[in-house]
C-alpha cells in the first residue's frame, strides 16, 4: 500500500469511530486540581496481539499456534472479544473501574518498520521529521488552561516528544545505575562471536547478581522511574506533564517469557505511579504507546518481527474507561497491512489529540499546531 492511501485510510476511519460514539467533546469538569498528563513510550515495539489478545478472532490461534498457548495463567477478560495478558492485573482492575481503555489496531501512520524512525515519528507527531520539535512540547506551548504548568522528562536529556518548549526540564535519579536491564540481552547477542567479552559479561552479571541488594545503587527499573515520576507530579511544584520511557519490547525471540516479565514490570510501574500520584490520580491521564506493532504471525524463534498496527492504553482517574476502543480489522490475509501486519484503523495521534482536547481543553486550532495532520476524535475519552 502506498503511504498516501494508508494515511488517508486512517483519516477515514476516524469518522467511523465518531459515528459509533457520537458524543460531543466533553469539557473538563472545573475541578481545581490541574489536569495532568503522563506520556509513556514503550521502546522496541510492544506486541499488541500478545497483550490485548483478540480471543474471538477466528484466525488468531492459527497465526500464533505456540504463542497463543504460552500464557501461564488465565487471560483477563475485557469485553466479548478481547482479553488482557495475565501479567496486567493492575491494568485489568483499572479497566473494571472504568479507568483504563486499550485502543486496538492503532497506528501513528509511520509506514515502515525501523525502530528509530518509528519512535521519532511517534514523538514528533509530524509527517516530515524534525528532531527539534515534539507533539507534547508543542502541546505544552498551547496549554492556556494551565499557563504555568511545567513538563518533566524522566530521562538524561529531553526526548523528541518534549522538545520545542521552554517549559520542560529533564530529571533522572542519580541513585540508580546508569545502564537499564534491556542492554544486557542486547550485549549477549552482540558478543556472541567474541569469547572474551561474552565471558566477561557473564562474569560481571553474576557478580552483580550476587552483590544484589547489598549495592547502594540499583539498576534503573521502570517501577523506580514510575514511582519517582509520580512523586514529582504529586509534589506541588507545577509539574503537570511528564514523559517516561520503558525499553525492552523488541521480542524477536522467547517472547512469551520476555513479555510476561515486561508486562508485569509495566503493570507494577503503573500501580506505583498511581500510588505516588495519590489524589492527583483523579485528574491524570496516562497515555501509553509504542512505535508500531509486530507481525501477526509468530516467527520461528518463539517471537514476532516488526509490524505496523499495534495497541495503546489510555488510563488514569480522569479517563472515561472500561471500553476496548478502536476498530478491529480482522486477521485474514486480505485484512492485513502489506499481507503481514495488523491493519491500523485509527490514528495514535488522533487519540492523543482527543485527550489534549478534552483534558487540556485545546481548541481545534491548537490541535492543528500540535498535530498538523490529525484531528481529535469525538469520543468521550475523559471522565
Amino acid at each position: 500500500m502506498k503511504r498516501r492511501q494508508f494515511v488517508k485510510m486512517l483519516g477515514a476511519s476516524a469518522s467511523l469511530v465518531a459515528m459509533q460514539s457520537p458524543v460531543l467533546a466533553a469539557i473538563n469538569k472545573s475541578s481545581k486540581k490541574p489536569a495532568k498528563i503522563v506520556w509513556l513510550v514503550l521502546r522496541g515495539a510492544m506486541d499488541s496481539l500478545h497483550t490485548v489478545v483478540p480471543v474471538t478472532d477466528p484466525d488468531y490461534v492459527a497465526l500464533r499456534p505456540k504463542l497463543s498457548k504460552a500464557f501461564k495463567d488465565e487471560l483477563l477478560p475485557l469485553d466479548a472479544n478481547f482479553a488482557l495478558h495475565p501479567s496486567l492485573k493492575h491494568l485489568h482492575s483499572l479497566y473494571k473501574n472504568k479507568q483504563m481503555s486499550p485502543v486496538v489496531a492503532v497506528g501513528s501512520g509511520y509506514p515502515k518498520r525501523s525502530h528509530f524512525d518509528g519512535q521519532d515519528y511517534l514523538e514528533s507527531g509530524l509527517s516530515t521529521m524534525n528532531h527539534d520539535t515534539g507533539w507534547l512540547g508543542r502541546a505544552m506551548n498551547q496549554l492556556e488552561l494551565q499557563p504555568n504548568s511545567k513538563a518533566l522528562a524522566v530521562a538524561n536529556s529531553v526526548p523528541i516528544s518534549l522538545r520545542d518548549t521552554n517549559k520542560v526540564s529533564s530529571w533522572y535519579p542519580t541513585n540508580l545505575k546508569d545502564a537499564d536491564e534491556s542492554i544486557y540481552d542486547s550485549l549477549m547477542n552482540l558478543y556472541q562471536d567474541d569469547e572474551l567479552l561474552l565471558s566477561r559479561l557473564n562474569e560481571g552479571l553474576n557478580t552483580q547478581q550476587m552483590a544484589g541488594e547489598n549495592t547502594s545503587k540499583k539498576r534503573a527499573k521502570f517501577i523506580d522511574l514510575a514511582r519517582s515520576c509520580g512523586k514529582l507530579l504529586a509534589s506541588d511544584n507545577g509539574t503537570d506533564c511528564a514523559m517516561l520511557e520503558f525499553g525492552g519490547w523488541d521480542t524477536h525471540n522467547n517472547q512469551a517469557f520476555r513479555l510476561a516479565k515486561q508486562l508485569s514490570d509495566l503493570d507494577s510501574g503503573i500501580a506505583a505511579l498511581q500510588q505516588e500520584l495519590g489524589e492527583h490520580w483523579q485528574n491524570t491521564v496516562v497515555m501509553v504507546a509504542t512505535e508500531f506493532g509486530r507481525t501477526v504471525k509468530e516467527n520461528g524463534t518463539g517471537g514476532t518481527d516488526h509490524g505496523t498496527g499495534g495497541a495503546m492504553f489510555m488510563l488514569g482517574g480522569a479517563v472515561n474507561g472500561g471500553k476496548v476502543l478502536g476498530n478491529w480489522p480482522g486477521l485474514k490475509a486480505e485484512q492485513l497491512f502489506a499481507g503481514r501486519d495488523l491493519m491500523p484503523t485509527t490514528s495514535t495521534f488522533s487519540w492523543i489529540a482527543t485527550v489534549l482536547q478534552q483534558h487540556w481543553q485545546l481548541s481545534n486550532a491548537d490541535i492543528s499546531k500540535v498535530f498538523p495532520d490529525a484531528k481529535a476524535y469525538k469520543v468521550k475519552l475523559t471522565a
Binding site: R43, G44, A45, H115, F116, Q119, D120, H131, A155, N156, S157, Y172, K177, D178, A179, D180, S182, I183, Y184, S186, L187, N189, L190, Y191, Q192, D193, D194, L196, L197, R200, L201, E203, G204, L205, T207, Q208, G247, G248, W249, D250
Partner: protein, 450 residues
C-alpha cells in the same frame, strides 16, 4: 554503503585517538600520507598555570602556613590556609590534566596526541603529596610536548631536568658524598638514576649493574629545584655544592666532564644507546600496534632510530610506512583513557568538565597522573579487560548514549569500517532504540579494540 577502506579506519582508530567528524573520509584517499601529516607539533594553551607559577604559589602557601601557626588564632588560620592551598592543588592538577585531555579530544592531529600520551606514560609521574599533586600535570606539557617530534635525547634531558620528575624521584636532595654538602652528612639518592636506566632508557634487561646506577646518580647530583622563598629563582636549579666531584664510569665509558655537563653527557649517551632504541621502539610498537610486538617491525623502527639519531618523528614515519603496522585484526584492547577519549570523539563531544573526567577515569582505574609507579599504567589488554571494567563501561556508555543526540548509524559510518553483513552492524541498526543503538556501537567488540 561504506565509502571508506579498512585502512582509513585503521589510520584514525589505531594510530589516532579515534575517529571524529569526517576524519575517516579524510584519511581514505591516502591513509599513510594522512597520518604523516598529522605529526604536527602540539599546541597547548599557555594561559594556564606553569610549573614555575605553581612552585612560586606553593612557596607562598608554605609561608602563609608558617605565619598561620604563629598567629593568635592558630588553628583556624591554619585550617583556612590549608583549605585554600588544597583548592589550589586540585585546580592545578585537575585543570591542567583536563585541559590536556580536552585539547586531545578536539585535535585534528590526534596521532601526535596519542604520542604525547605514550611518552607521558613512559615518563610517568604521580600526583601524590601536595607538591606532586600541583605539578604532576605540567611535565607532559612542558618537557614532553615541546620535544615530541624531535630527538629522544632532548626529551630525556628536558624530562630529567623538569621539577616534576626531580621531585617525584627525589633527586632534589641527592648530593655527592664528597661534595661540599656531602661532607656535612648529606648523601646520594639513587631513585631517579635507577628509573632512568630501568624505565626511561635501557630497560630492565638493559645490561646495567648496580655500579652503573650509582655512577649515574652521582653524575646528576645537584640537579635540584630552587626554593622560591629563599632563592631569587624558581624551577630547575643546579646546585654545584652538591655535585659529586671527579670522573665517572657508566657502562664502561669514562665521563671526565665537570658540573652539569657530566650528567648531560651521560644522559645523551643513554638516549642514543642501542638498548634504548630497542626498548623504546618495542614499547612504541606495543602501544600502537600489538601487545606482542612483531620483532620485524621493531627492527625497522630501531634501524630508523639509529639512522636518525633517535628522531621520534622519523621513527613514527617508519612505523606508518611499514605494512606490518596495518594488520587487519585489531590487536589492541583500548585502555580506559583511550576508550573514553575515542567514545567522546565519536559522539562529537567537544568538552568535558574536570569533575566528570576525573570521576570517569577514576571509576575505570586510570586517573591522570595516578599510575602510582614510575613504570606508568599498563599497556596490556589483560590489565584492562576485566568483568568489572566491562560493567563500568556499560554504565558509562549507557549514560553517554542517553545524553547524546548523536545518530548511531552515522557515528558507526564515521568511526568503524563495517559491512552491513557484519554482526555488529546489524545489531546496531536493529537496536530497539537510538539510545541503545549508540550504546551497542560503543560497546561493540570492534569499538573496544583498535
Amino acid at each position: 554503503m561504506n565509502a571508506t577502506t579498512p585502512q582509513a579506519a585503521i589510520a584514525v582508530n589505531r594510530f589516532g585517538l579515534g575517529a571524529k567528524g569526517d576524519e575517516l573520509a579524510q584519511a581514505n584517499a591516502n591513509p599513510k600520507a594522512w597520518l604523516k601529516q598529522q605529526l604536527q607539533p602540539i599546541k597547548l594553551s599557555n594561559s594556564l598555570y606553569t610549573s614555575d607559577y605553581i612552585l612560586t604559589e606553593l612557596a607562598k602557601y608554605g609561608e602563609a602556613r608558617r605565619q598561620a601557626k604563629k598567629s593568635k588564632n592558630a588553628e583556624a588560620e591554619f585550617d583556612k590556609t590549608n583549605k585554600e592551598r588544597g583548592k589550589f592543588l586540585q585546580n592545578s592538577y585537575r585543570g591542567l590534566s583536563t585541559d590536556t585531555f580536552v585539547a586531545g579530544l578536539n585535535s585534528n592531529n590526534s596521532v601526535s596526541w596519542r604520542l604525547l600520551d605514550f611518552f607521558s606514560n613512559h615518563f610517568s609521574v604521580s600526583a601524590s603529596g601536595p607538591q606532586m599533586t600541583a605539578i604532576a600535570s605540567t611535565l607532559e606539557r612542558e618537557a614532553i610536548a615541546p620535544n615530541l617530534l624531535g630527538n629522544f635525547e632532548d626529551m630525556l634531558l628536558a624530562v630529567t631536568k623538569h621539577p616534576a620528575m626531580i621531585v617525584y624521584l627525589n633527586n632534589e636532595r641527592s648530593f655527592g658524598p664528597n661534595s661540599r654538602i656531602g661532607k656535612k652528612g648529606r648523601g646520594l639518592n639513587e631513585n631517579l638514576a635507577r628509573e632512568i636506566l630501568e624505565l626511561h632508557t635501557l630497560g630492565v634487561d638493559g645490561g646495567y649493574q648496580q655500579q652503573d646506577v650509582i655512577e649515574l646518580a652521582k653524575g646528576i647530583t645537584g640537579w635540584s629545584i630552587a626554593n622560591p622563598r629563599k632563592e631569587d629563582t624558581v624551577g630547575f636549579m643546579y646546585r654545584s655544592w652538591g655535585k659529586e666531584p671527579g670522573d665517572r664510569v657508566l657502562l664502561g665509558k669514562a665521563y671526565k666532564q665537570e658540573g652539569m655537563a657530566q650528567g648531560e653527557a651521560m644522559l645523551k649517551d643513554l638516549a642514543n644507546h642501542p638498548k634504548t632504541a630497542n626498548y623504546v621502539c618495542s614499547k612504541l610498537v606495543k602501544h600502537f600496534i600489538s601487545d606482542k610486538p612483531s620483532p620485524d617491525l621493531v627492527n625497522i623502527l630501531v634501524a630508523t632510530w639509529q639512522k636518525s639519531g633517535g628522531n621520534i618523528k622519523a621513527v613514527m614515519n617508519a612505523m606508518i610506512d611499514s605494512d606490518l603496522a596495518w594488520q587487519a585484526q585489531k590487536q589492541k584492547f583500548k585502555t580506559p583513557r583511550e576508550f573514553v577519549m575515542s567514545s567522546l570523539r565519536a559522539v562529537g563531544k567537544k568538552n568535558i568538565k574536570p569533575k566528570e573526567l576525573f570521576f570517569t577515569l577514576n571509576t575505570f582505574g586510570q586517573q591522570p597522573m595516578q599510575a602510582g609507579s614510575p613504570a606508568g599504567y599498563s599497556d596490556e589488554q589483560q590489565d584492562w579487560d576485566g568483568a568489572n571494567a566491562l560493567m563500568s563501561k556499560i554504565d558509562w556508555v549507557s549514560l553517554l548514549a542517553r545524553k547524546s543526540k548523536a545518530n548511531a548509524e552515522k557515528v558507526m559510518q564515521q568511526t568503524l569500517n563495517l559491512k552491513p553483513s557484519e554482526h555488529t552492524y546489524k545489531s546496531v541498526v536493529r537496536a530497539e532504540s537510538r539510545t541503545q543503538a549508540l550504546a551497542l556501537l560503543l560497546l561493540s567488540p570492534e569499538f573496544l579494540r583498535r
